[in-house]
């Protein structure tokens, strides 16, 4: 069975989703989803271990060899992504039952878990595959379920947010599809590995240039790169809290993965960075994104909005690392991918606990919460410190590598700007700390209890991971280094 792990990684959650429909009791459906997600996590651990020890794994679906059939191609990069997605999904699901019971009507809870599993399977499918069209098919699965999940939010504005996301997401997906179609027309193949070998022959043509431009813009819409980020804040703010935690930690990561995969593996480094002034463009957009989004975050009244804008800023950091396009730069991006998933997972899950107790995440309702919900707020503070990049947290590690990469390239001013960007993070985190610890609670609010254990436990699991991987960086650095090296075609 070990040889089938690459496909099992995707089809286990994919087939579990329709099976879930037979479990009418929400509690059963939750337990089943949790079990499936944990199983996927175990599979991804074994896969990562296999890839690190013995190199790329190729799996031919339907038994047809590559350019004729579809293949799964697991290398250090996507094995790492698979691990992030399954890990976060499992931890978030731990808290799901408690939170969902309160936020979604009972008759829709089973459907919620089905959509959750579909979304998970879709993301895993995008990451695992080595076929450009297969990417699009799984992108559709994950996006469609994402729209429905966001629209399930209690607030009626969730519908509008999901609709906006649907329009932007569909435009993005269509652009990607047009790009893939044009590439197929010029090369006659859809397999990524095969494409990378056949594209150089035709890379001077205008058609390939157009294909490249469409794919890049499509992916940038999906990853909410500034200024294409407008769908993100509302989608995150009005979705059910569990969904926010899951997507904030995984969805944009998958888009970043696609960006790296298409520029490095499919189009090749030399073409990608000469066809368009991508370095300068992404560096500028990344920096502007960091400052614009962080500044907007400072003025938010809703804490979910605040962290959503902060997510856009963090995407800016990842894009800066990408624009450096050296091994260290890519390592910084990948490290931040992992670290940001841990931070935002912890922060949004903590907010999930807050919503469970006080039903709101308006900043003014946070007054005095530091004493009423000490463990939850402590988690928010540690997550916030990690977001700023304080030493001994994961945030420090990613900032460190990012600055290292920028300085290696001789871009001193950029390094200074990155540090300034972190100062903005201090400001918006401070606003939360200020109201939670230094303001007295709003009058007329009764006794508020600490968040239930089923939410606190996963929150603290992630918080501890924030600290642990901030001190012991062996795993994350080793894997990201291998991934970056393999993308540059050196080493295993």
């Amino acid at each position: 069975m070990l040889a089938h792990l690459p496909v099992l990684q995707v089809i286990v959650p994919l087939l579990a989703a329709p099976l879930c429909l037979f479990l009418t009791r929400p509690r059963l459906a939750w337990g089943f989803a949790l079990f499936v997600s944990a199983l996927a996590f175990v599979i991804s651990c074994i896969l990562l271990q296999q890839v690190m020890s013995s190199g790329i794994i190729i799996y031919e679906l339907g038994g047809w060899e590559a350019p004729w059939g579809i293949e799964y191609r697991i290398d250090p990069l996507n094995a790492f992504l698979l691990l992030i997605i399954t890990a976060i999904s499992t931890v978030v699901l731990l808290a799901a039952h408690t939170s969902i019971q309160q936020e979604i009507p009972r008759e829709r809870q089973t459907l919620f878990y089905i959509l959750y599993l579909l979304s998970l399977a879709g993301m895993l499918g995008i990451v695992a595959t080595g076929d450009a069209f297969n990417v699009f098919v799984f992108l559709e699965i994950s996006s469609l379920s994402a729209y429905a999940l966001i629209a399930l939010g209690k607030d009626r504005r969730a519908l509008w947010a999901a609709y906006q996301y649907l329009i932007m997401g569909t435009v993005g997906a269509t652009f990607i599809l047009i790009g893939i179609g044009l590439m197929y027309q010029m090369t006659g193949t859809l397999n990524m590995d095969d494409l990378s070998r056949r594209l150089p022959e035709v890379e001077h043509t205008r058609t390939v240039f157009t294909a490249y431009a469409f794919i890049i813009v499509g992916i940038c819409l999906k990853l909410a790169l500034f200024p294409l980020h407008l769908w993100l804040p509302n989608a995150y703010a009005y979705a059910p809290s569990i969904v926010t935690a899951f997507f904030a930690a995984t969805a944009t990561k998958v888009a970043i993965y696609l960006l790296i995969r298409f520029t490095f593996s499919v189009f090749g480094l030399t073409f990608s960075f000469t066809a368009l002034p991508l370095r300068l463009l992404f560096l500028t957009l990344g920096l502007v994104g960091v400052f614009a989004a962080s500044t907007t975050a400072i003025y938010q009244k809703n804490v979910k909005h605040l962290f959503a804008y902060s997510s856009i800023a963090q995407i800016g950091y990842m894009i800066i690392g990408f624009s450096v396009s050296t091994t260290t730069g890519l390592m910084a991006t990948l490290l931040h991918l992992f670290n940001h998933a841990l931070m935002k997972g912890a922060l949004f899950l903590a907010l999930c606990g807050v919503i469970y107790r006080i039903g709101s995440v308006q900043l003014k309702h946070f007054n005095g919460l530091g004493y009423q919900m000490p463990y939850t707020m402590a988690a928010v503070v540690i997550g916030g410190l990690s977001l700023i990049g304080v030493p001994l947290t994961v945030g420090f590690i990613s900032k460190w590598y990012l600055i290292l990469a920028v300085i290696e390239n001789g871009w001193w001013p950029v390094a200074v700007l990155i540090l300034l960007g972190s100062l903005l993070a201090v400001v918006y985190i401070w606003r939360i700390v200020e109201s939670a610890y230094f303001k007295s609670p709003l009058p007329g609010r009764g006794n508020i209890k600490e968040a239930p254990l089923s939410i606190l436990l996963p929150v603290w699991l992630l918080v501890i991971a924030n600290i642990y991987f901030g001190i012991d960086t062996r795993l994350s650095v080793q894997v990201t280094q291998a991934a970056a090296m393999s993308l540059f075609g050196v080493g295993p």
């Binding site: 329709p18 047809w64 579909l118 010029m186």
Partner: protein
């Protein structure tokens, strides 16, 4: 011309009809380009089922577009750039129909020359979709399943129980309205369903397959519902049964993949299903097409019933509100 008319129109009803015609025209294009399977799908989905679904949607939203005053300059710029880029991209494309185009030289020759020996199905499109790239098709079925679940999660309302007396009175009423329409369509229905079954099981020889068949079958049921009312249709088609069927279609497809896994082959390798690999491929394709057909039919019916059920629910609410207002006055 049709596209321009669609953009200019403010009345939604002719707009939907025109977009149906637009789909029909483009399926005509596909036929002239020798893409019969694509044409068939476009005709069944674009001109058929989506027109029906849009019609149900406008019964809820009203017929006319709200006039909006804004100057979409930014949108115009974006659209122009996108269109310009697309035209720019076509400049270096291989000439249409050229035998030297890369598309015809790389993977296609094997599909054309060897698929008969390897898969044993005369329709090459089917063997590519269902076997060589069977995993993509599996993904598409899951996409449709996701759409169905999404609609259920967002729109589903529990139907109110209906008494037998009410159904009888309704049936009596129905006999008087649209009598000709009802009788004609009633005689048509068995033939539509028979045609759907033909398309379903003939996909390996001619154009067709699970997607088209599922849509046609669903169209038959939707036609019945439109003419005889939701309440009667609900008695014929059990809601929870149809949800289970949607899941079973996906599971049937997936379980065939799992059978090949358990026999030591790769996922969705059908050659293990029978003693002879080619017969196994053929059997596999028939079974997965059946899975596709079941899921597509049930999801289309789920979407339609929930749209229409929502409308019924809203009307019910409205009536109740009016009733309350009357008593308060």
């Amino acid at each position: 011309m049709t596209a321009i008319a669609i953009v200019r129109l403010k009345d939604l009803f002719p707009l939907i009809m025109l977009s149906g015609i637009y789909s029909l025209l483009s399926s005509g294009f596909f036929v002239t380009m020798d893409a019969v399977d694509v044409a068939f799908t476009e005709a069944a989905v674009g001109a058929g089922i989506s027109t029906l679904l849009l019609l149900v949607a406008i019964t809820m939203t009203g017929r006319t577009e709200h006039p909006v005053r804004h100057k979409p300059i930014l949108a115009l710029v974006v659209v122009t750039i996108t269109g310009g880029l697309l035209i720019y991209g076509t400049l270096d494309m291989p000439i249409f129909g050229s035998a030297q185009a890369p598309v015809h030289l790389h993977v296609a020759p094997r599909y054309i020359n060897d698929s008969m020996q390897e898969v044993g199905v005369p329709n090459i499109v089917t063997s590519v979709l269902a076997s060589y790239r069977g995993f993509d098709t599996f993904g598409e079925v899951v996409v449709i399943f996701t759409a169905g679940i999404g609609v259920l999660a967002l729109l589903s309302v529990v139907p109110r129980p209906v008494t037998v007396a009410k159904i009888n009175s309704l049936n009596h009423l129905l006999h008087e309205q649209h009598l000709i329409l009802r009788i004609v369509s009633k005689t048509l229905l068995p033939f539509i369903m028979l045609f759907a079954l033909y398309v379903q099981f003939h996909g390996d020889y001619g154009p067709g397959g699970g997607f088209q068949a599922g849509v046609i079958f669903a169209a038959a049921i939707i036609l019945y519902t439109m003419l005889f009312g939701m309440i009667t249709a609900r008695r014929v088609i059990n809601q929870s049964l149809i949800q289970v069927l949607a899941a079973i279609g996906v599971l049937l497809y997936g379980s065939i993949g799992v059978v090949s896994l358990l026999n030591g082959k790769n996922f969705l390798d059908y050659s293990i299903l029978a003693g002879d690999p080619v017969a196994g491929q053929h059997l596999g394709i028939l079974l997965i097409e059946l899975g596709v057909g079941i899921t597509v039919t049930s999801v289309m019916i789920i979407i339609f019933f929930n749209f229409a059920g929502r409308r019924e629910y809203l009307q019910h609410l409205k009536k109740n509100n009016e009733g309350n207002n009357d008593t308060s006055c």
